[in-house]
Amino acid sequence: MSVGLVIVSHSAKLAEGVCELAAQMAADVRLAAAGGTDDGGIGTSLEKIQAGIAETDQGDGAVLLTDLGSAVMTAEMAMEFLDPEQQERVRMANAPLVEGAVAAAVSAQTGKSLAEVLSAAESAGASY
């Protein structure tokens, strides 16, 4: 098993594209695309994020990556609604979406811990 990733974006295509890209180097990592509103518009969906967490966290935890500020807020809400036990293994990365997702996916693929995957995502931001 490994840490999973939830890609939270305002655009369904963007979230799917990030998963597509990250999957290239992380064939065994669970990646969930939580993009767009429930009715397919541009925006974020609490329900999609919750489903993404449920799908990707199979016990080793999940890292959430977000695009804009309102995605961060919706993702935070989803995290607050988790039961306390699961809350401990679901983290939001303060990282650039695409670059953080690729770095985190590779880290998860090599079996790294939640803290290591999170830090892989967050240090991806520094390489500019």
């Binding site: 509103t37 429930d38 518009g41 541009i42 925006g43 974020t44 969906s45 609490l46 329900e47 804009l68 500020g69 309102s70 807020m73 919706t74 935070e76 809400m77």
Partner: protein, 213 residues
């Protein structure tokens, strides 16, 4: 007049109506300094609240109405306003507790909790050109009115008037939170859409209270 569950239910219905009427205006404000969807976002959220209340029947307490509003806004809005107003109503529900009708002190506690929820969620301060610039003056005015022994309706009027003034005050500000902050200096000279919807919603609370008077 009592700030009971029926009042809270009327508040949500009146909000849905005025937001629908002001959809275009809110979206136009958001076009200037955002992504032109605040009207649609808010209408989607409040029409879903009304639908839920109408389908399930009015809950027993104001707190339960706020809880319904919170959960609905969180899942339906799709923009920043969803988690922000959602958290506001969730905290308001907690502050209202099981009370069947809100007294003056409870009302101030509910408004304060709502504002604090928005701050906890969005980390905005007064002057950042967000809905907080309507909420914080509203909460302060409510507390002042309550200290002066106003009725609940009087407290709501004070809050709504202060929110309206707060909205007007957002015009010259440079945004430091939310999408508008991408615009930097170019965000000055426009009203904040979220502050505008806040003023509308607080005016609805007044009308809902007056309807029962």
């Amino acid at each position: 007049m009592e700030l009971d569950a029926a009042w809270a239910d009327r508040w949500m219905h009146d909000s849905a109506r005025v937001i629908a009427e002001n959809r275009q205006r809110l979206t136009t404000l958001d076009r200037e300094i955002g992504d032109a969807d605040h009207g649609e976002n808010m209408e989607r959220g409040f029409s879903a609240i009304v639908e839920k209340l109408d389908t399930d029947g009015t809950p027993d307490t104001p707190g339960a109405v706020f809880k319904t509003a919170a959960m609905t806004l969180m899942s339906k809005v799709g923009g920043a306003a969803g988690p922000l107003y959602g958290t506001a109503f969730l905290r308001a529900a907690t502050a209202a507790g099981d009370s069947g009708a809100l007294g003056p002190a409870e009302l101030v506690a509910v408004l304060t909790a709502a504002r604090d929820g928005i701050v906890a969620r969005g980390k905005a301060e007064v002057g950042d050109k967000t809905m907080i610039d309507a909420w914080t003056p509203a909460v302060d005015a409510a507390a002042t009115a309550q200290a002066a022994d106003s009725t609940p309706a009087g407290i709501l009027i004070a809050a709504a008037n202060a929110a309206e003034a707060g909205l007007a005050g957002t015009e010259p500000l440079v945004a430091r939170k939310g999408r508008a902050s991408y615009l930097g200096e170019r965000s000055a000279g426009h009203l904040d859409p979220g502050a505008a919807s806040t003023a509308l919603i607080l005016q609805s609370a007044v009308r809902a209270a007056e309807a029962a008077a």
